[in-house]
Amino acid sequence: MVHYNMNLTLKVWRQKNAEAKGNFENYQVSEISSEMSFLEMFDVLNERLINEGKEPIAFDHDCREGICGMCSMHINGRAHGPWEGTTTCQLHMRAFKDGDTITVEPWRAGAFPVIKDLTVHRAAFDRIMEAGGFVSVNTGNAQDANNIPVAKDIADEAFAAAACIGCGACVAACKNSSAMLFVSAKVSQLALLPQGQPEKKSRVLNMLAQMDKEGFGSCTNTGACEAECPKEISLTNIARLNREFISAGFTYEK
C-alpha cells in the first residue's frame, strides 16, 4: 500500500457534559499519514488543541487493539467507520482521501447518555450482565479441563458469540437503538454450553427484562447491527435469543 499524507476537515460533536446541549465544531487537520489509526489522528489534533490552550476532545479508548470495545465513534454515519469488522482503533486513515470531510458523532441512544464529547456511558450493558450473564460455579476442586464433553461445532459457536466485546456498535447502528445483538451474544455463549444450563431460563428472562428497562428499542430485524459489529456476531444469535426467551416464557414457573 502506497503511503500518502492528507489534509482533512473534521466535524466533531462537542458536548461539555451530560446536561449540555452540544454542537458540531469544525477542525482542519493537515499532514495526516495514511498509516495512522483513526485514534492517532485524534491524538494529533488533541495535542494541537492542548498547545493552543483549548479543551481537547474527549473520546474513549483503552486497548487500541480491537479487544476492549471502548473506542465508540460514529464516523460518517457508520459505527466505527466505513470498514467492516473493525473497531475505531483498528480503522486506518487510508480509509480516507485527501480533502475529505469526516463527521464524528458519539453513539446515539437514550440508554447510552453522553458523558462528554464522544464518550458515552455504557453502564446499561453492565446492568444487563448483572441480571443474568453469569454461571454458577461449585466450590471445591477444579474439574479437569475437557471433563464435560462439548461438540466441536457447538464449542465454536459459543466461542464466536463470546467474541462480543460489549462495544455497543450494535446499539449505535440500529435505528431502534436495540441491544438485541449484544444480549443475544451474551445469552448464546452460555445457553450453548453445558455450564450455562442451570440458569438457562431465568437468565434469558432477566436479561431481556433488564434490556427493556434500560430503554433500548426492540428488534425489527433490519440487520444493521450484524453489518456493523466489529466481532461479526451473527443474527443467528438473535434467533437463538428469541427461541430461548419463548421457551423460558412458556415453561419457567416463576
Binding site: 458523532e105 446515539r108 419463548i246
Partner: protein, 227 residues
C-alpha cells in the same frame, strides 16, 4: 414471568406482531385465489356463489372476525413498538448510513403498514361492510337468490378511477411490507436455519412480496380496462 409480563416485553410484543402478521399472510393467499374469480367471464356466477358461501359459513365467519382482531392487535402493538423505538434514540445522528447497513424495506415497515391501514379501512367499508350491512343488489346465480357482490365490485372500479389507484398503492404497500415482514416474522420466532433460510427468503420476496400483491393489483386494473 407472568403472561401479562411476557407479552409486555419487547420480544413478547414482537411475537404478537409476528403471529398476527403471518396469520394475515395465510389469509391473503386464500383471499387472492377467491378474488381472481372476479376475472372470469361468467357474469359473476362463480364469484358470487363463493362470496355467498363465505358469508354464510359459520366457521369462515369466525376466522373472518379473527382476522379483524388480528389486524387490530397487529396495528396496535406495532404502533407501540414503533413509538418506543423512536423514543430509544432521543438525539438523532447528523449522518445516517442509508442502505449501506440495512435494506430500505426493513426501515419502512411502519410507513407501509400505515398505507395498508388506510387501504384496509376503505376496502372493508366498500365491500365487507356493504356486503354484510349494506343494501346491495340481489341476483339469481346458479338457481339461488343472493347478493350480487360481483356487480358491486365492477361498479366501484369502473366508476371510480381514484379507487383503482388506491388499490394499486395499497398493494405496493403490501409488497414492500411483506418483502421484509414475511422473513422477519420467522426470525422473530427464532426460526433461522441455513437449511430453510433460502426458502423463507424466496417465499417472502417472490411469492408474498411480489406475486400476491401483483395478483391483487391486477384485479381492479383489469376490471377498469375491460370497460
Amino acid at each position: 414471568m407472568k403472561w401479562s409480563q411476557f407479552f409486555n416485553t419487547s420480544i413478547g410484543k414482537k411475537l404478537l406482531v409476528g403471529a398476527t402478521g403471518l396469520f394475515l399472510c395465510s389469509f391473503v393467499i386464500v383471499h387472492l385465489v377467491g378474488n381472481l374469480q372476479l376475472l372470469l367471464n361468467d357474469n359473476g356466477e362463480a364469484f358470487n356463489t363463493y362470496a355467498d358461501f363465505m358469508a354464510h359459513n359459520e366457521l369462515i365467519q369466525l376466522v373472518a372476525w379473527g382476522l379483524k382482531v388480528a389486524v387490530i392487535i397487529h396495528f396496535w402493538v406495532a404502533l407501540q413498538l414503533t413509538f418506543s423505538n423512536r423514543k430509544a434514540r432521543p438525539v438523532k445522528y447528523a449522518v445516517n448510513p442509508g442502505n449501506q447497513t440495512s435494506s430500505w424495506f426493513s426501515r419502512q415497515m411502519a410507513i407501509m403498514g400505515s398505507i395498508l391501514l388506510v387501504f384496509l379501512l376503505i376496502h372493508l367499508k366498500d365491500f365487507w361492510w356493504a356486503m354484510h350491512y349494506g343494501d346491495l343488489p340481489k341476483g339469481n346465480f346458479g338457481g339461488k337468490e343472493m347478493t350480487d357482490l360481483y356487480s358491486t365490485v365492477y361498479t366501484a372500479f369502473t366508476t371510480q378511477l381514484w379507487l383503482v389507484f388506491l388499490y394499486v398503492i395499497g398493494m405496493i404497500g403490501l409488497s414492500f411490507h411483506l418483502i421484509h415482514g414475511f422473513k422477519s416474522a420467522f426470525q422473530t420466532f427464532g426460526l433461522n436455519h441455513v437449511k430453510y433460510n433460502g426458502l423463507i427468503n424466496f417465499l417472502g420476496v417472490w411469492v408474498w412480496g411480489i406475486l400476491i400483491p401483483i395478483g391483487f393489483a391486477l384485479i381492479p386494473v383489469i376490471i377498469y380496462l375491460k370497460h
